[in-house]
Structure formats: structure tokens, C-alpha cells
Symmetry: C2
Subunit: 180 residues, 2 copies
DNA sequence: GCCTTCATGTAAGAAGTTACATGATTTC
DNA sequence: GAAATCATGTAACTTCTTACATGAAGGC
């Protein structure tokens, strides 16, 4: 997606909660945000510089140990405005969910294709593992049933769990039919 | 996703079924494949040239009317091998589903945020429309219950319908809770 | 005749991936 | 002292989007 620079808004969104280093932001894609977006540090560091040039964020230096200087970034009021504007805009596009397995499946024309069953079981295992991971995340982050502090985070986790539950059930259903 | 050139395999996959022009391939992304991948003609035409350089496809010219020459592409046996290899490879990555609405939702922390309800209703409408479209596609392409000719296509349509059904139900559920 | 669709390309630039590169701090 | 993690960057390259550009054929 070489377009609206959504990564920019993710960074602004994260910084609107607390001050973070580039490294912290990079790590966020391994956990929370990783469920629905990805980014590498080589993309993040240059963008942080650009956002600072545009005065949407600033940084202060924090000394760690004796020599290492961390750059602690924080959002400016201009940055908050830009973030809020983005949130306020309509989101009229449903982007195609680029799923390589689904792509491959499209080109399997017959239930007799020997590739089909291995593909299905591989994916079932993957999505089952993901589902387990998501459920762990849920019980770690929202142990009591009231999703008090962060509604959005709760909802996207709930959504991801439902999606993976549905995905694994669908795969299982095909596996049952194919192997019968 | 600047990586494994999956578009290449989509083109090979489409051409393994029948001869197509670049224009036909472009159009395929408006219907069938559009459910789970996107591409513009400006990406397709240069890639067709590259694939022909690599001898994975060839073309013949077909005269339309008096002057217009269409390039009808077809897959070579080398191309078929490459396609089959791709299908045989494991697909061990679940790519993050980049959904801008989910992204925005992540940064809505409270049920009291005035942006929440409009966002939800907008998305509900969008996904409801998509669901209707998908169901129409299904009944147009697979009118009888046996999915005889093209299993893969049937399954991905089924998957998309389930996904959108789940998505709209999830949104409706939140709307009910928020507006109560 | 006019408008829509068919048909094929190129150019510029943004976004994203993979690899290269370096060094400090913490933990065991 | 070694290994893992913290921390920040750049370079090269591919992919993808948006816009520019042109012209033929078909339907009304």
C-alpha cells in the first residue's frame, strides 16, 4: 500500500498515549498492533525524522547507562490535531485482505488435487496457534470482563479472536469433507 | 508488501486456465480476485513483459476490428512448473490484515468518544453492502449446491461470506452496546 | 456524432522489505 | 566473558499507487 501513509497515524496514535523510542514503536508491531499491521524499524526511523521535520512530534534525549542516548519521542499539539482529523475522516474503503493461502486455494480446482489436504492442515495449525495466542493476549490484558481502560484495544482483540475462530472452523470443515 | 511478487503467481494462475489479455487480467481484480487481492493495470503490463522475458508466458497477436491488436497471453510449460512449485511450497506466514478501520478503532479508548458511533455505522453499512455483493456472486457463480467445476473459487467465496457475516454481526453487537 | 468500454503503455514517487552496519547495556 | 537484548541508523531494491498519455471499437 503505497498510499496514505497509515504508518504515520499509527506512530501518532502510539505517541498520543505515552512517550516512546523508535525501538519501542518497532516492538509494538510484535505484539498489539502486530495483529493488524506490520512495519520494520528501517521504515520507522526515517519516518520519525520526517514527522519531527513536520513538527508533529518532538524528541528529548534520555541517557541510559553512561553513553547510550535514547530518543524519547512525544506528540505535539499539531500532531494531536492531525491524528484527530484522521480519526474523524470517513473510512470508505474495505481493502482487499491479502492472504497468500487464499490466493493459492483459488487455483486449486479439484478436491482430488493432492496439494489440497496438506495445505489445509498446515493452515489449520497456523490459525489454531494464532487463536491460542490471541486468547492468551486477551486474558492477559483484559482479565476482568469489563473492558474499562481501553475499549478499542479490547474490541480489536475480540474481533481477531472471532476471525480466527471462524477461520479455523472453516478449514476444519473443508478438511472433514475432503478426507471423507 | 514489497516481497515475493505474488502478483506474478496470480497472473500465471489466471493464464493456466485460459489465454487472456492484460486488460482481461486487470478486470479480474474487479471481480473474482478482487475479494482478496488488488492490482492496477500499470503494475500488470510491465510484469507481463517481465514474465515473457523469463519465458514463463508468451503472447500472440489478435486483430480486433481493423487496426487494434490485442496481446493474448498464454502460459508456457516453464510457467506451469513455476506455478505448481509455488502452490506446493508451504505458506507459513499469516500476513497482518491491514484494515484501516480496525487501526482507527485501536485508538478509540472510550465508549463515550463521539467518533465511535458514526465510525461503526459507516463500517456496518460498508460490510453489509459487501456481504450482499458476495452473496449475489455466490448465487450467480454457484447456483446449484454442488461446487462441481471450481472448488477453490467456491471455497474462497464461502470464506469471504462467512468473514463478512461475522464482521457485520460484530459491528452490530458493538453498535447495540454503545447506543444503549 | 458522442460516450463508454476496450486496449496498452510510461513516469514519478511513496511505501515496504531485506540486508548492511554499528555499538551500548543487561543478564547469566 | 558471552549472549541476548536494547538502540539507531543507512542502502539497495521491489512493489504499489497515482497520474499522464494515447487511440480503437462498439453501442446508442
Amino acid at each position: 500500500m503505497a498510499q496514505r501513509n497509515q504508518l504515520k497515524y499509527i506512530i501518532l496514535g502510539l505517541l498520543s498515549e505515552k512517550k516512546l523510542t523508535g525501538y519501542d514503536i518497532t516492538k509494538a508491531f510484535d505484539s498489539d498492533i502486530g495483529e493488524f499491521w506490520s512495519a520494520n524499524h528501517s521504515q520507522i526511523y526515517p519516518l520519525l525524522k520526517r514527522l519531527e521535520d513536520d513538527a508533529l512530534i518532538t524528541h528529548e534525549l534520555e541517557l541510559v547507562g553512561e553513553k547510550l542516548e535514547k530518543k524519547l519521542y512525544s506528540i505535539t499539539s499539531a500532531g494531536k490535531t492531525v491524528l484527530r482529523e484522521w480519526l474523524s475522516e470517513p473510512t470508505p474503503e474495505i481493502s482487499a485482505t491479502k492472504d497468500e493461502f487464499i490466493l493459492k486455494l483459488y487455483f486449486i480446482h479439484s478436491a482430488d488435487d493432492p496439494l489440497l489436504l496438506p495445505m489445509l492442515t498446515e493452515q489449520h495449525q497456523l490459525h489454531q496457534a494464532k487463536l491460542t495466542h490471541l486468547k492468551n493476549q486477551m486474558s492477559r490484558k483484559f482479565p476482568d470482563e469489563t473492558s474499562q481502560n481501553n475499549l478499542g484495544h479490547f474490541l480489536i482483540l475480540q474481533h481477531a479472536i472471532q476471525r480466527e475462530t471462524r477461520y479455523t472452523a472453516w478449514l476444519q470443515d473443508i478438511i472433514d469433507k475432503v478426507s471423507r
